[in-house]
């Protein structure tokens, strides 16, 4: 069995939602861990949920990325522990250099909360284990700083080494370069994405015209922890 840590920083606000999804969909043991009390040992996977750590002061994720907890999470990634960063969690992972690129303010200048359609390219690693290449997933985004920025060379490298989750053409809500919504590290163990899979894990929460595309991520981690990846 696997145990999943959900690391909460001051200002994190999706911790409970992620816990709900991990418990009901992944059916794994899971706990919300306050960042000061986080110890990396004993966890089989780690999730940094969304929210506004430190009120988004400076830049989204910038302060949380400098905490001891974030450094320990980065070390866990090195050791091969699966780590998922959702929304602000993705921002923390890019700020900490765990994942490439950066997340800049949305092109429209406004916070955007809406459902979008995504396509997964070359899925790998524990979080995307059950996702087919080219699969279309639907989830909502909710962020003000989600415009993915990366250099041309950086993107080329990303394409050749990692999984990329892209907004389907016409669904890019924030002006992200190359329509990038989420990326993994080359190993696939760390995944960061702006859309919220925990809000798209149940049909009950899925509006007309969309499918619950976050579910497969929580099923994948359960599957991966059970069989090893």
């Amino acid at each position: 069995m696997g145990k999943v840590a959900i690391v909460k920083f001051p200002g994190t606000n999706c911790d409970w939602d992620v816990l709900h999804a991990v418990k009901t969909v992944s059916k794994l043991q899971s706990e919300v861990v306050w960042y000061k009390e986080f110890q990396p040992n004993g966890w089989d996977a780690i999730i940094i949920p969304g929210g506004f750590s430190y009120g988004d002061w400076l830049r989204a994720g910038a302060i949380a990325a400098k905490t001891t907890a974030a450094e320990k999470i980065a070390e866990s990634v090195e050791k091969g522990t699966p780590v998922l960063g959702i929304c602000n969690g993705f921002q923390i992972l890019t700020e900490g250099g765990v994942l490439p690129g950066a997340l800049a303010p949305n092109a429209c200048g406004r916070f955007v909360c809406r459902w979008v359609k995504l396509r997964v390219h070359k899925p790998k690693g524990p979080w995307l284990a059950l996702v087919n290449d080219g699969a279309e997933l639907h989830m909502p985004v909710a962020h003000a700083e989600g415009r993915y920025v990366i250099s041309e060379e950086g993107f080329k490298e990303l394409v050749s080494t990692s999984s990329i989750i892209k907004y389907v053409s016409g669904w890019n809500p924030n002006g992200s370069a190359y329509d990038v919504a989420g990326v993994t590290n080359p190993e696939g163990t760390a995944l960061g994405l702006m859309p919220h899979p925990e809000r798209a894990a149940e049909d009950e929460l899925t509006p007309r015209g969309f499918r619950a595309g976050g579910r497969v991520i929580f099923e994948s981690i359960a599957h991966s922890l059970k069989k090893g990846w």
């Binding site: 409970w16 009120g55 406004r110 909710a142 509006p207």
Partner: protein, 731 residues
């Protein structure tokens, strides 16, 4: 508003001596209109406040209803009109902060926010700046604290160009056995937790209790500044304190600051208190009077039994919540205030907390006659297709997507029926059952300014219908009365009539008004009152969220039916306003007994799966309501308006755009149409099956065989969904 000489004499009488500066500051804050309701108290007694669901009515920081056995919903509304006119971003943001803290006082977890915004013409430069600031303020604050903004109301009218009305409501949930329903006990420690006290918002309640200055810069220091991060950790820490049952009482420091919080806490529980101002954690160097009345945000007062002090400190330390222990409750009924060991104030809590009500004279103004203009003088009809298109671009009708997409309306994983999909939002309880709660807020400044009594009654009716249309049973409402200067009888008349309208209608609908707020002095520098506006937020119980109905058509071939008859009621309508520039006439009559009967029918039709979509007919009338059902589904329709049950209607536009109350549109699958007719006939309700949902990409209104209006669905969708965005962003 400074104390009057009469009030100062009264204070001298209470104290039996000259008051100190600190005492005067305390009385000024507490006796301000904002905190004391001195101009409204006598009339507020008219509101029905009881039902079998009500656990806690008005009086505490927030009321509570027991929506399901053992499950309390705590909800309340508040206005931040004055601050939002001066500093829209911070004014609106702190409104959210304040209302959330009110919900926290009962130990409830905030699960939803609503915003009711009455703002200026989106294309007016100043109004545009205010609109963007207000929405961003709510967005930044609500999003950061992780409470979804799920519903509300938005209205645009040039009369609000300089002075918008910003009402926000919060809904919380708590198990009855965890709720903090007790009060402080003698010797409980008084904790001041959260933000450090500073100079911002000094005498903010007094500021809100007078008209705005001509030069708003003078008032900027009275606007509080919000810090959503502090509020968020305050919420997290409080949830843990309450879960562990460590505190006896929680109170928000809102209007009137520390002075008000301590005196109300003591007075309401027949206690006294001793506080030491030098123990308060400060941001600025403040005088004792300033510490007492500062309205710095994100602060709360806790009553902690002495044996829990250690455990409480541990949790506050864990979350890095700043706090100070500033005194304790006593049994002598007096609030004693010390600063560096010196007594600076000593007042009897009860007299401080409760000034004498003021009886205000009330007379109807001349302009109220506008509401009596007979509609026989209706201007000749214009092209109906054009009129419909023009209505759809009205910011009062077109989609509020530009607003609600800036709010994280999904955080919390509860939002089952989301903004834009139905007449109300529905949140699941997430307690392992299929139960949920529906929430909606409404207002109509045109109705209430034309006819405050019937207008306010219609607002209650509209909220009741919205809650019903999604499949819930309305349980209770809270109201906010945004009125002018209570010292002016012509302004006060509107307040009185709105209040009476709400009281009457809620009594008739058997939906108690469990709490509310009054905002006076909404007048401009020339003394003209801002449109008197009553807003209502209601909650409904949902037994099974899988039965919740959106307004979207589900499939082509279905029948479209209307419940309730239509009257020639174009007075005060959006149609008259948009197409003819007229704002007059008798507004639609409230129809309480039909509302009750139709709501029962709608609930039956939803419960038995006879209808697949339900939509209330509101502003813009039947034509707009039908089009909304089309736009949300991408399916067209073909209706014959001669099949609409009506009385005394002489013109086609009256059928299409009248805002007659107590009407619903429903979609019925072909296989259920006979059953539908049987059930509706059993209820003896007027109805008409007026047409079908079509696969065509167009909407078609006919009168018999005559084609009246035919419009392409893509055009309609674009106008409906994007007009507000275009007006605001100029794109």
């Amino acid at each position: 508003m400074p104390l009057t000489s009469e009030e100062i004499n009264e204070i001298k009488e209470i104290l039996g001596r000259e008051p100190t500066n600190e005492e005067l500051a305390m009385f000024e804050a507490q006796w301000s209109e904002h905190c004391s309701y001195k101009s409204s108290k006598a009339l507020l007694k008219l509101l029905p406040t009881k039902s079998r669901y009500v656990v806690l009515g008005p009086g505490r920081d927030a009321p509570a209803v027991e929506i399901f056995p053992g499950v309390l919903i705590v909800f309340k509304i508040e206005s931040h009109n004055h601050p939002s006119a001066v500093d829209p971003y911070n004014g609106a943001a702190t409104g959210v902060g304040g209302i959330v803290r009110d919900i926290l006082t009962l130990g409830a977890k905030p699960i939803a926010l609503l915003d009711l915004l009455y703002m200026g013409d989106p294309e007016d430069p100043h109004a545009n700046f205010l609109i963007k600031g207000i929405v961003k303020g709510i967005s930044d604050y609500g999003n950061r604290i992780g409470v979804p903004v799920v519903a509300g109301d938005a209205w645009f009218d040039k009369s609000f160009n300089k002075q918008p009305l910003v009402n926000v409501a919060c809904v919380g949930i708590v198990a009855k056995d965890k709720a903090v329903l007790r009060g402080p006990a003698v010797n409980d420690e008084i904790y001041l937790v959260g933000n450090a006290t500073g100079r911002d918002g000094l005498l903010g309640s007094s500021f809100a209790s007078k008209p705005l200055a001509e030069d708003v810069d003078e008032d900027v220091a009275a606007v509080q500044v919000g810090d959503a991060l502090t509020e968020k950790i305050l919420i997290d820490a409080l949830m843990e304190l309450i879960d562990e049952g460590l505190v006896n009482y929680v109170k928000d420091l809102g209007g009137g600051g520390l002075a008000t919080a301590v005196s109300e806490a003591a007075a309401e529980h027949d206690l006294g208190a001793v506080i030491h101002l030098d123990k308060v954690h400060l941001r600025h160097d403040l005088t004792p009077a300033e510490i007492l009345t500062s309205e710095s945000q994100e602060r709360m007062l806790l009553a902690v039994p002495q044996h829990n002090v250690e455990a409480v400190n541990k949790i506050l330390d864990k979350y890095d919540v700043p706090y100070s222990v500033i005194g304790h409750f006593t049994n002598d009924g007096r609030v004693k205030v010390y600063y560096k060991g010196v007594a600076v104030a000593e007042v009897p809590a009860k007299e401080l907390a409760k000034p004498k009500p003021v009886v205000r004279p009330s007379t109807p103004p001349q302009e109220a006659l506008k509401a009596l203009t007979t509609p026989s003088s209706l201007p000749p009809m214009k092209d109906l297709r054009e009129a419909t298109l023009q209505l759809l671009t009205s910011p009062n009708i077109s989609s509020k997507k530009w607003i609600y997409e800036q709010y994280d309306h999904e955080v919390g994983n509860r939002t089952v029926l989301k903004p834009g999909y139905g007449d109300a939002a529905v949140l699941r309880l997430l307690d392992g059952t299929a139960r949920g709660v529906a929430v909606k807020g409404d207002g109509n400044p045109r109705y209430t300014s034309l006819d405050p009594f019937n207008g306010a009654a219609n607002v209650v009716g509209e909220c009741y219908r919205n809650l019903t249309a999604v499949g819930s049973t309305p349980i209770a409402v809270v109201d906010e009365l945004n009125a002018g200067n209570p010292e002016k009888p012509n302004h006060y008349w509107y307040f009185e009539m709105m209040l009476r309208g709400i009281a009457w209608m809620s009594e008739e609908l058997n939906v108690p008004v469990v709490g509310g707020k009054v905002s006076f002095y909404n007048e401009d520098s020339r003394g003209v009152q801002v449109r008197p506006t009553a807003t209502v937020v209601g909650v409904g119980k949902v037994d099974d969220i899988s039965k919740v109905k959106g307004m979207d058509f589900k499939g082509h071939g279905s029948y479209v039916a209307i419940i309730g008859y239509t009257l020639p009621e174009l007075g005060g309508s959006e149609y008259l306003h948009r197409i003819y520039g007229l704002e007059l006439g008798q507004i639609p009559k409230p129809k309480p007994s039909l509302e009750v009967k139709h709501a029962e029918l709608i609930r039956k039709l939803i419960k038995d799966d006879i209808v697949s979509a339900v939509h209330d007919v509101g502003v813009g009338g039947l034509a707009v309501a039908l089009i909304e059902m089309s736009v949300t589904s991408g399916l067209g329709f073909n209706v014959d308006i001669s099949k609409i049950p009506s009385r005394a209607v002489g013109r086609v536009d009256e059928l299409l755009y009248s805002e007659t109350q107590a009407r619903y549109l429903v979609e019925v699958e072909p296989s259920k149409i006979d059953l539908f007719k049987d059930v509706v006939n059993d209820y003896e309700v007027a109805y008409g099956v007026i047409g079908r949902v079509e696969d065509s990409r167009e909407v078609l209104f006919k009168e018999g065989v005559k084609e009246l209006i035919k419009i392409d669905l893509d055009l309609i969708s674009d106008l409906y969904l994007n007009s507000l965005h275009r007006r605001l962003e100029g794109e």
